[in-house]
């Protein structure tokens, strides 16, 4: 299990995936002030939501590289022939994807908060929200990656599959900033837990179907 996590993390960093995610996240956060204009009050108000939307798009970025290469290279066949549980393999992929993208993203959030002129208090709420919500984003990304592996135009389909499922995270995550407070964070944590618990089994079923 740990060997699987380390392998996936090494691959994520070696392919530049983690750096790309952070660069993409910061770029989206930078685009908003350009689009909206230098209205400091407005930026402060929408800043938290912008960070959540950017985090969601950044998590979607590497979806095609999470499962499809292993299916093509026969790696998943080898796991299955060894009698390893596909749900455990998927869970390892979720942990590895989270470790590869969430900590750098949370560090980049500090820079993005500066760009959007967020207060320290709001930044703290956003960061707590990201700690709670990013595992679910990682789980959704792996499950979606498994569902679309082997399809043509997998990237576009992945967006259509994953973004609607992430709406609850976005609502509760951004809602916790807009006066939702601890209640919002609790709902975010509950949603996140549900997604993280279910995703390995969805991913495993999709991988099994993809093998045949």
């Amino acid at each position: 299990m740990i060997a699987l996590i380390l392998r996936d993390m090494r691959r994520a960093y070696a392919s530049g995936g983690a750096t790309l995610i952070v660069a993409f996240f910061l770029l989206v956060a930078i685009l908003f002030p350009f689009a909206i204009g230098p209205d400091q009050k407005l930026l402060m108000r929408i800043g938290g939501g912008v960070i959540w939307a950017a985090a969601l798009l950044a998590a979607l970025l590497p979806v095609e590289r999470l499962v499809a290469p292993d299916l093509d290279s026969g790696t998943l066949d080898q796991f299955a022939a060894r009698g390893m549980s596909m749900a455990a393999v998927a869970a390892a992929k979720i942990v590895a994807h989270w470790l590869a993208f969430a900590p750098p993203l949370m560090a980049a959030t500090i820079a993005a908060a500066g760009l959007l002129d967020l207060s320290g208090e709001t930044l703290l709420t956003v960061e707590i929200g990201l700690v709670l919500g990013t595992p679910a984003l990682a789980a959704l990304a792996v499950a979606t990656g498994a569902l679309v592996a082997g399809l043509r135009g997998a990237g576009a389909i992945a967006g259509l599959v994953m973004l609607p499922l992430a709406i609850p995270l976005l609502i509760f995550g951004a809602g916790a900033i807009e006066g939702g407070g601890v209640g919002g964070l609790k709902l975010l944590a509950a949603t996140s837990l549900l997604i993280v618990a279910g995703a390995p089994f969805v991913a495993a079923a999709a991988i099994r179907a993809g093998m045949e």
């Binding site: 392998r7 022939a81 060894r82 009698g83």
Partner: protein
């Protein structure tokens, strides 16, 4: 339907050669035996660990041969993964390539690395799909010798191939 009414049983030391033209289901039979594909009817009973050599290499292209094999050897739940990998590399005459990235290997060399993974796993049951593909005559002879060793230590070998392989006393199925 690729094939039906096929039945075989292999005991310790047995080998089965599955032959037939392209597209008759040799690989599918191997995948059914490996548990990757569910048969429409019938069942597979397996006692012991399986090691699979399939068409796809399943090796991380950017890693060195020894490191890529080491990853798999560590998953085997057997002691001394590094020693097993070193012995398997020796057995397939790959020791000189241990530090070469997998992406630089030729087809035949990649095939041999795949065989090295099977050897290093020390599994009871070898499932080999076209193991001689891309191998030169010396490597084919080495493959035949390795299969003989595996059978001598009480292992089972199932080989699907369209190339002639000399396996003494092996059962044969023509699809």
């Amino acid at each position: 339907m690729l094939f039906e009414q096929r039945s075989f049983a292999l005991a310790a030391g047995d080998a089965l050669l599955v032959t037939g033209a392209n597209g008759t289901g040799k690989s599918s039979l191997i995948r059914v035996a490996a548990g990757l594909l569910a048969p429409v009817a019938g069942h597979v009973t397996v006692e012991g660990q399986r090691a699979l050599l399939a068409e796809a290499a399943a090796l991380d292209a950017e890693r060195a041969v020894a490191a890529a094999l080491g990853f798999w050897a560590r998953l085997d739940a057997r002691p001394a993964p590094d020693a097993r990998v070193a012995a398997a590399l020796d057995a397939l005459d790959l020791a000189a390539l241990a530090d070469v990235p997998v992406r630089l290997l030729s087809t035949g060399q990649r095939r041999r690395v795949g065989l090295a993974r099977v050897v290093a796993s020390e599994a009871d049951i070898w499932l080999l799909d076209e193991p001689a593909n891309g191998l030169d005559t010396a490597a084919v002879a080495r493959l035949e010798a390795l299969i003989a060793v595996q059978r001598a230590r009480g292992g089972v070998v199932l080989v699907a191939t369209h190339q002639p392989l000399a396996l003494a006393g092996a059962q044969e199925i023509r699809l």
